[in-house]
Point group: C2
């Protein structure tokens, strides 16, 4: 398989999300033009992105929604369950534990950690909270996870990341503003809500709608 | 100005974010290759995206960080302050009110609404909570805002969106999983954390790092 850029993977995830909506709505076929409109992309870009992985379209017909969705999930590795470990059970952490979309898409929290000793040992959203110092013990049991979700305060982020890495976890979804320093073989994805605001600012400023608008 | 696709605006916001980091680090010049690496994009894509707006690069030299940053901010409309109104002061809402990155990038919460009458009238992160029924009154005063941030429960999202639209607000950052139905002239940007997880799933599955990795 070719190496594809990050932004193409984010686009594939977006296409998969909209294909899933179409599938749930009982739609069997979609044109690249319609899929592009749903995703706020352009049809040529979609055809180019999908060409990384093979031929999914039928000329003059469009894409078979379910086939393309399954192919994308296989390519992206999302045709399986991924286990998440939460670090930082503050307001954001609690919100993340309660997000139904995670479970619906196969992302299951199996462990949660916090520094607050009043929280440790209690349950939040049915999840028992552990100390991050105990991570190596926790992941030996049912608390084992694939991806760390970092939602601590900024002051704790780098320390926590080092503990995660030392425990042998190779992927971090980073909600903190800290630029984490981790070894080359550890994957870090930074979440920044302000980036999503920019499409709105641009649309309001220019009057040109560049948001990902769902079709009505 | 040409109409540019949503995904290009998201990329511009990403470039601006990394240019801001370089600027804060005192870096004056950056090559498209280095900027691309920081953003997880490719240099040809960056040159193409920036070509929508004019000539910012100097052949053989690179980009002047501050000039490019200011030009991007002007293009995107982020060279000013934007006021945000929060709907739903639950765990996620509280976390959003406390995010320092918003204020640092010029996004200021000026109003917050919740349905919980025990919360209404109290202060959260220094912000007095109002009822969403009172939105038209609130925006006549210092609670006036440009962009609604929707962080209610899914069951309240559409009702709340209609109230926002009726009050004359034209932009919604939607953290709920609900596909909002709004008039054509209202901009909606949907935030979905699971999409960010997919770059990690892909990297873990293929061993090929497609995350937005910061340079070390």
């Amino acid at each position: 398989m070719h190496k594809i850029p990050n932004i193409a993977v984010i686009r594939l995830a977006l296409y998969a999300k909209h294909l899933e909506m179409l599938h749930n709505d009982g739609v069997e076929l979609v044109s690249s033009v319609k899929l592009a409109k749903m995703c706020g992309a352009n049809p040529a870009q979609i055809r180019k992105d999908l060409a990384y992985f093979g031929q999914f379209g039928v000329r003059g017909v469009g894409y078979y929604v379910n086939d393309l969705l399954n192919a994308l999930k296989e390519v992206m590795g999302t045709n399986r369950t991924w286990r998440l470990g939460l670090f930082g059970v503050g307001n954001l952490g609690k919100a993340l534990l309660g997000f139904e979309q995670f479970a619906q898409r196969g992302f299951i929290f199996t462990a949660a950690f916090d520094k607050d000793i009043d929280l440790v040992g209690t349950e939040v959203q049915g999840m028992e909270i552990s100390q991050s110092e105990d991570i190596k013990e926790v992941i030996k049991g049912p608390g084992c996870f694939d991806i760390a979700v970092l939602a601590t305060g900024a002051d704790r982020a780098q320390d926590c990341a080092m503990r995660i890495v030392e425990a042998g976890i190779h992927a971090i979804l980073n909600f903190t503003p800290v630029r984490l320093v981790v070894p080359e073989n550890v994957f870090v994805e930074n979440v920044d809500f302000t980036v999503r605001l920019h499409a709105l600012c641009y649309s309001l400023t220019t009057g040109s709608d560049v948001t990902q608008r769902h079709p009505r």
